[in-house]
């Protein structure tokens, strides 16, 4: 087990390097001058050139990459071209805000998804299965920004029960575990949880149904075991697959959602990315994508370890 974990951790180094290269390349290949959106439209060419030099955008791309990598390794993600603020400060705040939404959405989406999927798989072909399948189909199909807007119209505008936007009540900034803060999170969390709910439910249903078909289940039943003990064996067999789905889904959630965060003016990574893209704020864009990419890599590592812990066969492979 230890050797397995060590090997997995070592894999991270080339993967992380690959991520930095990919992020750098993608951001620079995209069309548009990084200075275009941040200088005034009538800025004289010489001032623009000076700015370009001061950000190092005049260097050849490979040189820029090496310099960038050096900075990243020393924990410096650079300064935002648009605001002059260090990327790490804005990014840290945004990551924290997105984490609130993603943990909330994971709790709601994963619990309901597992419950729905398990029920549907257990009662395959029955009424409960069809109802659950319908719900999950809606979950994966409904555009979530649309759902967000509808929820806002109903819950905030018409019924005036919940706030329409923002993450803190008037006057307060940042997060706190007060009722008012939680109320601000309800609508975005619900909106965000719908897709993972659908995806998790579908894979749980399929896995449960598949495991139930296997001979060992029949053997257990033939042995005269009751529902509870059979269920315990099924859960053990379903868990590795479900854990990997949950891990991936949590990774997507952590990435934040540009659409949902924009609809709810939630100042997380999606909101940040949206602005960075529109302003071609390369340092901010690079830093954000890189951090999200690394999160994903890290999460995959955790999933691998969890899977290995749950399923001895994985360790041998």
């Amino acid at each position: 087990m230890f050797a397995y974990i060590l090997r997995r951790i070592l894999y991270i180094v080339p993967i992380a390097l690959g991520v930095t290269l990919l992020v750098f390349a993608l951001v620079h290949i995209a069309p548009g001058d990084p200075l275009n959106a941040v200088v005034g439209p009538d800025a004289p060419a010489e001032v623009v050139e000076q700015l370009r030099r001061s950000y190092g955008f005049d260097q050849p791309l490979p040189v820029q990459y090496v310099i960038y990598l050096g900075h990243v390794l020393s924990g410096d993600l650079g300064q935002s071209v648009a605001t002059g603020r260090p990327v790490i400060a804005d990014l840290g705040r945004a990551l924290g805000n997105t984490l609130i939404l993603s943990v909330g959405a994971a709790i709601v989406g994963f619990t309901s998804g597992i419950l729905l999927g398990a029920l549907a798989g257990w009662h395959r072909g029955g009424f409960i299965d069809r109802l659950a399948t319908l719900l999950t189909l809606i979950g994966v199909s409904v555009p979530h920004y649309w759902l967000g807007m509808v929820l806002v119209i109903v819950m905030a505008v018409e019924l005036n029960l919940l706030p329409a936007m923002g993450m803190a009540p008037g006057g307060a900034t940042g997060w706190g575990f007060t009722g008012a803060h939680l109320a601000h999170a309800v609508l975005p969390v619900l909106t965000m949880s719908v897709i993972p709910m659908g995806i998790v439910a579908r894979s749980v249903r399929a896995t449960v149904a598949e495991v139930l078909q296997q001979e060992f289940v029949q053997a257990l039943r033939a042995k005269g075991l009751g529902r509870g003990p059979v269920l315990r064996h099924v859960v053990r067999n379903v868990a590795p697959t479900v854990v990997s789905v949950l891990g991936l889904q949590f990774g997507y959630l952590l990435g934040g959602s540009i659409l949902i965060e924009t609809v709810f003016s939630w100042p997380g990574t999606g909101f940040l990315l949206n602005e960075a893209i529109f302003k071609r704020d390369l340092p901010l864009l690079q830093g954000t994508i890189l951090m999200l990419g690394l999160f994903f890599v890290l999460l995959n590592l955790l999933v691998d370890i969890a899977q290995a812990a749950l399923d001895p066969r994985m360790r041998r492979s």
């Binding site: 941040v38 004289p44 505008v157 005036n160 923002g166 993450m167 009540p169």
Partner: protein, 539 residues
């Protein structure tokens, strides 16, 4: 896991949710006099005195915290707004040597940090933009507003309250340009460790509001500067809160649910709903124009004046205004009738498809044998209104008189690139026009930059390579006419010539719709890009 347990859990969760929801009906009991504004920007515009985010930045982070030597008079909604003395009491160009300007400064003005405003501070603020060797020079600020002061060659402190500017060439528009150079406090810059990013977090200007709290991308809170030099403009509000809300539907929902009190640019199709909830809707024309900027290179189809006039006559601007829910004013030129620079054009721009077809026939075209032209448009962007449906509408109009428009749609920032590059640039090959909206706030940016032949790219943004010696002479005359009334007269001649030559296809002016709660009192929407929030109160 027993069924009872999970049911109890679900019930408890639902109860907690309902409880928190009930106790949290959006707080309507705001402190008296707090105005919460939903802006279209995705971040708080830069607060160091050289705002980004276009004129919305100047509106909320600029003229609130700072003053310029010359400010805009934003007190009336029923007449075009003009410049007026602010940190400068008076100014004059030397009649014998018109490149020398003397500005007399207002005595007794203090920055928010308590340090005095004087001629040295003015010189220091110009150095931050123009003198690359100055220790406080900031390339980013220079790129944002430095071009406004591009004609300034040097500054000279005469005494504490007198400063002299020398311009590179005679420039009668200098006072207008100086309205964009906001005065930041040198003492505060020293105090925060000579760092503009830190200065932006704790700014100090002379403006009617002070920055109390700034959380990037979340909110900025401004409080009144009780010691403001213009006693009549000490803010009535206790607090002004700026909140970035780039999504238009979010702004509308936030206003309807009582989370903000005033929003910028509600989508036209939500106006009826806003009104039915008792919201106030304001709008007013301002110096904005939504045109087609035409290429005049040899391969352009727009070189025949009959075609340009026909295109101007073919557009049903009233119909287009209806499409925009009434939130537009049909254009009859680059600026609106009633502005001091309108002049007396003879070409009457209106909807007359018959006359347009006749002109096209004279030029050798008809709906069966149409003229083809390619225009670059963007799907969105600052000041671009609702470009896709509007351009489709115009395409239909022009088709009826024998002009087939083809659009090349590109993202706004890419279009800005094409605009800067000029029509002659390789990337603009085969392009005959650009749908780029303009601010006509000051004479140089309203007219001169588009018509002078020495401002072809890359020297300037005379994008279409328009050139006319008569126009060059008029532009030079305007830049050398220092008496305001006489200057307006020359600018009127320039505008009249532009209209009579049909140098653009002018379509509509925006009216900047805004929506606010019935509790907001005293709001005046001036005919300007900028706003004065000092008379506003919230009850």
């Amino acid at each position: 896991m027993t069924p009872t347990f999970s049911r109890r859990l679900v019930l408890a969760g639902a109860a907690a949710l309902a409880l928190s929801a009930a106790s949290l009906t959006p707080a309507t009991a705001q402190a008296q006099g707090t105005l919460r504004v939903g802006m279209t920007a995705a971040d708080i515009p830069l607060t160091h005195g050289s705002p980004d985010n276009g004129f919305e930045g100047f509106r909320f982070s600029g003229y609130t915290l700072y003053d310029a030597l010359v400010n805009w008079d934003l007190s009336a909604a029923d007449k075009p707004s003009v410049i007026k003395p602010a940190l400068a009491l008076s100014w004059e160009a030397d009649p014998k040597e018109p490149t020398k300007w003397t500005f007399k400064l207002r005595p007794g003005v203090k920055f928010h940090d308590g340090s005095p405003f004087d001629a040295k501070a003015v010189a220091w603020n110009f150095e931050k933009l123009l003198n690359k060797d100055a220790p406080h020079f900031d390339a980013r600020q220079a790129s944002l507003v430095g071009f406004r002061a591009a004609s300034v060659a040097s500054t000279k402190v005469i005494d504490d309250l007198t400063i002299e500017f020398t311009t590179k060439t005679p420039d009668s528009f200098l006072p207008y340009q100086l309205s964009f150079i906001l005065m930041a406090s040198p003492a505060q810059y020293e105090a925060v460790g000579k760092d503009w990013a830190k200065f932006a977090a704790q700014p100090s200007g002379t403006g009617p509001f002070k920055l109390d709290k700034l959380v990037p991308r979340e909110r900025a809170e401004l409080t009144p500067n009780k010691a403001y030099w213009d006693v009549a403009r000490v803010p009535k509000l206790d607090k002004l809160v700026l909140i970035p809300m780039p999504e238009a539907n979010t702004r509308t929902a936030a206003l309807l649910s009582g989370q903000v009190d005033l929003i910028e640019a509600p989508p036209p199709d939500t106006v009826a709903r806003l009104k039915s909830s008792g919201m106030q809707i304001t709008s007013n024309p301002y110096p904005h124009i939504w045109p087609y900027h035409l290429s005049r290179l040899p391969d352009s189809p727009w070189n025949d004046i009959r075609v340009r006039k026909a295109a101007n006559l073919a557009i049903d601007r009233d119909g287009l205004t209806e499409l925009l829910g009434g939130f537009a004013v049909p254009a009859t030129g680059h600026v609106m009738k009633g502005t001091p620079w309108y002049g007396k054009p003879t070409f009457d721009i209106k909807y007359d498809p018959e006359a347009a077809r006749k002109l096209m026939a004279e030029a050798g075209y008809s709906p069966k044998k149409p003229l083809k032209a390619k225009i670059v448009i963007s799907p969105s962007g600052s000041g671009q209104m609702q470009p896709l449906p509007m351009n489709e509408f115009i395409q239909q109009n022009l088709k009826e008189v024998g002009i087939d428009l083809e659009f090349e749609v590109m993202e706004f920032t890419s279009m800005v690139n094409r605009w800067r590059a000029g029509a002659k640039a390789e990337q603009n090959a085969g392009i005959h026009g650009l749908n780029y909206s303009y601010a006509a706030v000051d004479p140089f940016n309203a007219f001169i930059r588009f018509v002078k032949s020495d401002l072809h790219a890359p020297n300037g943004v005379n994008w279409g390579f328009y050139a006319d010696p008569e126009m060059d002479a008029l532009a030079a005359k305007a830049q050398n006419t220092f008496e305001p009334a006489a200057q307006n007269e020359v600018l009127g001649q320039i505008h009249a010539k532009m209209v009579d030559d049909a140098t653009f296809i002018w379509i509509v002016h925006d009216v900047a719709p805004r929506a606010m709660s019935p509790k907001v009192k005293g709001f005046v929407q001036a005919r300007n890009w900028f706003l004065d929030l000092t008379p506003v109160s919230v009850q």
